[in-house]
Symmetry: C2
Amino acid sequence: MRDDRFCNSNCPFTRAIGTIGNKWKPIIINVIGIRTIRFGQLASIIPLISRKVLTEQLKELEEDGLLERLAYKELPPRVDYKLSEKGLAFLPILEHIKEWNLKYEVAPISGDTDKKSRISYPG
Amino acid sequence: MRDDRFCNSNCPFTRAIGTIGNKWKPIIINVIGIRTIRFGQLASIIPLISRKVLTEQLKELEEDGLLERLAYKELPPRVDYKLSEKGLAFLPILEHIKEWNLKYEVAPISGDTDKKSRISYPG
DNA sequence: TATTCTGGTTACTAATGGGTAACTACAAAT
DNA sequence: ATTTGTAGTTACCCATTAGTAACCAGAATA
């Protein structure tokens, strides 16, 4: 999922894209936001992602220092995720992307324009 | 390459990720910047991308209104690409990503730390 | 005693991504 | 007459990605 050729670039921008440049990670970071959230909550808020892929993405985000993982030794297990300082510092960028899209997005060419048929998070 | 489930979301952020949330598009937009550039130049600046994929990405960027394509009816063919207003408006966001990475990137854990072995653009 | 609950992991399979090489057009240069 | 150059397109194939279903622990609940 991470592209080592990107992550080993000497260009900081390319390296950044190597770590967050896929479709799921920005979504996950945006969903977590400033709160602490559990694995199951994430999985239900983003139903289109499979648990397997969600696990992988969370692991990579943790390895890349965007995410903190707190596993309680309980049964049934409980795991809390929250953004690190680095992850939190990325939130404003996601805000900019949102605003950029709102300002410039072209209307969909075909299909229904009924906003109600759209879903909040891929699912 | 584009994920329709993302592009049809009612969340503007998710839609944005649907259009620019992959590894090549931010790189391409960043390389073009404010200049006008030809296909061959792009291909040589980003050698890791194959011409096939570069073509696909450019086509999608054009369809999504980030890119303007100017084909001259000459032989050999000449095609100029440049960012649209929407594309240009995305550049500051890429700048933020670059700064964010410089500020928070953790040092690579293993392998060579020799920056000279790093490449500027994936290739 | 059986079921539920959580946060995974694993094995297997299907779908997609992406690479390579060959090919196009035609003018200009060798 | 052949090669060169540009910006692709196409067919074919392999590698990676992602989905599905089954399985785990062990306490609490029914």
